[in-house]
Subunit: 516 residues, 2 copies
């Protein structure tokens, strides 16, 4: 490859108006090669660092992002139209998540340290090493949380992997600005050059995917994009952790809508959840099953009529929303659907369609995600048939079940059918909003993700970026420092099959504040 | 699909003579459908069992296999030619491994139980559920260890997944006999019908791969076979854990061959290791780097000349061994290579070829596995160049490093280069022979496996057959029993981010024996 004379550009567009507002040059092949070489070198350095060292780097990045909160929120709003309050909160959440992933590394379970004296002549030690340089393809819909420094990047860095991210074309100027802050902060904090970098442009992204230097790829976006990446990377056997869009179903039991207040609260919540961020959440609930006679469709439609139009992220998403809602209307047999795009820029109007169980058959358009503020209501006569339809859906990231409370006899049966198909099930709550904790699971069976065992939010997110190795008959001095008898990193370890915990250390200052 | 009038057959051949000795009918499409339906039903039952219950089933199977040890070893020898001592030992090891996997399930870490009170309005519980029915494609070279009831099957059953195995055409009669014993024993022990079954025939195997009932596939065999399975299953997003053949390199430092006794011991060990089981081990060392002047090639060649010819497993393997060794001879520039196949049946003579570092370039035949008793010796002048060549090899299951002892200054540098490319590194030991313990890693980066994060031997083997789920805002009574406050299964759990261990239970009888 050679650099072309005319440099291609990712143009920046304002979703409120559709107007172009500058842009960012694509990264040249030579520049990408330079980044890859630096990342390989950084990989060796990072592999030898302690989690506490990386925590200090990531803490500096979290601080720097918060220092630039207002500037970044304004820039993000110019390119996404998601609104300042949401964007400020998303950035604050990203800073918290960064600290969380670093703390997960410090806790040390992710290292999987284990050693056995098998016999007089055989000893084995097993632990997880970082895979090396990682490429992250962020999403359009969370410019901070799943952008050029979001969950994937922070968890990979926590696991000691350098990261080269590809800027999403929906927010090129923001991507470049964030990357500049992150790169500079990491260097100042002592991280080696090559720990983090950014490329712009489709070809630069492909160059990363095809490079033998890149050992793992994380992606958040459409099923089409994720599957194309998976298949391209399969040629050289590189893992692709793709988190893709799904129809996240909700199920309402008879007891949950025993009175009209129940229906009203669920309808209001449903509309609030599926129009949040203009319906551009990967956990957006897209299909609700409610008992016939509950009046669910009418209640949802009333609330939908009150939702103001909101801008979609890009012109492409707006076009696909228009065609997607037309397809849904046709599949649902709704000939009177209103206009999907209204007013200036990429503004879209919320939509809802009524569907019959008989239409929810494999291959139907109704069972595919439509990105944007649209959802389906299925009122069922026969609870068993509805449950069969629910269990027959493709894998989803999340689902909701609304019950009449802890004594609702339907709950156990619904959960037994749902859990094998879904990463997370929320009871009497909506799936949008993903808490970042040790017990979070943001994943699910294909096509929710390409890796049903993985999660892209929560403590498990680090596991995507390590691989186990075993060393047989090693002199103890050859093993990583965390195997030393004094357990210098204070991590859980398995010794001869028995899980052992570190001796609790003194209460850290940051935690003791709350005790005073 | 309909049953054909003429049933196809997997014929059984005697590797010592090449003579056909009966055969086994292929499973019909209708029979496979019946098995799949039973497996789905068994999956629901198994998911609700405790690890201790499954341990009792698996313990019964281990006992039944040992009861039939002599019968099965004789039958295996008739179809594999691996010899009775090895086959008796392999079966005994399989019985031990079965108990080990069951004990790993009982220990409970594999469940990944974790719960968090995130806020006043959000609680999360996360744990691993069994994926459901699994299909296992066993290998030809370990009729017990990786056959129709080996590591993959025992670890899947321990993790509460029903298994339908495909018989390897190299040992159809043995497969059917083992399956009969296992099926009957499981039923007698109380396991539901459909917990375990066997199909025979290529088409029956494909029917399993394509069935929506099968949630995960485990395979041990050639790279070609593993990749074909991976790509076929990718259409419906099903994980394939393929463990494939690799060139497992060995590296000898200068200090390790400081005297001729060092060279002699390593040469003898190398030949013993790469001709073990007629070189039909996936961990067979296939390429050794030794310092020029050590006399390694000559010493290895002397030992090779003394190895008696031994039968390969199948006619197909014998043919590929003949063509493979001819290709290696050509690539190594050895025009005087001796005959690969000698005597009766599938008997093969051990071979060794001298190669130059300059020939070890990507794409060379020298860097691909050749199944059978053949290996390469590379004598290096320049240690740094040899290390570069070593680090440039494809991913391998295992590697060996021979050093001058714990003070050898080369050790650390070699390990740093090797570990990212290899599942297990043995120091001053050969890679053949894989202890089944908590700290084992039998896997490695592609093309060693399709899943660098996985292992098919050791405690981690269960992880291939579970997937995480999170339940948000669940009534505690809705959660699995192992979340109950009294920790009824005595498993490690993470509560609000803190790993907690079960209260130690009384010393079990089987362990207390050793104390008397």
């Amino acid at each position: 490859m050679t650099d072309s004379v005319l440099t291609a550009v990712d143009a920046s567009f304002d979703p409120y108006t559709g107007a172009e507002r500058g842009g960012v040059d694509h990264t040249s092949p030579a520049e990408v090669e330079g980044m890859l070489a630096l990342a390989v070198r950084a990989g060796s350095v990072l592999a030898a660092t302690s989690p506490a060292t990386r925590e200090s780097w990531l803490s500096a990045v979290a601080g720097a992002l918060l220092e630039h909160q207002e500037e970044l929120a304004v820039l993000a709003d110019e390119e996404t139209g998601l609104g300042l309050p949401r964007l400020r909160a998303e950035l604050a959440g990203t800073a918290r998540s960064t600290l969380f992933y670093a703390s997960v590394a410090v806790e040390g379970s992710y290292l999987g340290a284990s050693s056995d004296l098998v016999s007089e002549s055989i000893s084995l030690a097993r632990w997880n090493i970082p895979v090396g340089p990682v490429t992250v393809f962020g999403a359009s819909n969370f410019p901070f949380g799943f952008g050029v420094f979001g969950h994937d990047v922070a968890s990979a860095l926590s696991a000691a992997c350098p990261v080269i991210v590809k800027a999403h074309p929906a927010h090129p100027r923001l991507s470049v600005r964030i990357a500049g802050i992150v790169r500079e902060t990491l260097l100042s904090a002592g991280a080696p050059a090559g720990t983090y970098d950014l490329v712009v442009g489709f070809d630069a992204g492909l160059q990363l995917v095809d490079s033998p230097a890149i050992k793992t790829i994380a992606f958040t976006g459409s099923e089409r994009g994720g599957m194309a990446l998976r298949d391209r990377a399969a040629v050289r056997g590189v893992p692709v952790f793709a988190e893709m869009g799904t129809v996240n179903p909700a199920f309402v039991t008879a007891a949950a809508v025993a009175d009209s207040a129940g229906t009203e609260a669920i309808a209001a919540g449903y509309v609030g959840s599926f129009t949040l961020g203009a319906g551009q959440f990967c956990t957006k609930p897209g299909l609700i099953f409610a008992p016939a006679g509950s009046g669910m469709f009418d209640a949802v439609a009333r609330h939908v009529a009150e939702v103001p139009a909101a801008p979609l992220l890009t012109a492409g998403i707006a076009v696909r929303f228009a065609s997607g809602t037309a397809e849904l209307a046709a599949a649902a047999g709704d000939s009177a659907a209103s206009a999907a795009l209204v007013g200036e820029g990429y503004a879209a109007a919320a939509q809802v369609f009524r569907v019959a169980i008989a239409d929810l058959i494999p291959g139907s358009r109704l069972l595919e995600e439509c990105f944007g503020p649209v959802a389906l209501v299925c009122e069922y006569d026969d609870g068993a048939a509805a449950l069969d339809a629910l269990a027959g859906l493709q894998g989803s990231l999340a689902a909701s079940v609304f019950t009449g409370g802890s004594t609702d006899p339907e709950t156990a049966g619904i959960l037994a059918r749902l859990l094998p198909k879904v990463g997370r099930v929320a009871l009497n709550a909506w799936p949008t909003g993903v808490a970042n904790t040790w017990s979070q699971q943001h994943g699910g069976p294909w096509p929710a993700t390409s890796r049903p065992e993985a999660t892209s939010v929560g403590a498990g997110a680090l596991s995507r970026f390590v691989q186990p190795v075993a060393l047989q008959n090693a002199d103890p001095r050859t093993l990583p420092v965390f195997f030393a008898p004094e357990n210098p990193w204070h991590i859980p370890r398995r010794i001869d099959g028995v899980l052992t915990l570190p001796v609790p250390s003194a209460v850290p200052l940051s935690a003791s504040k709350d005790l005073s």
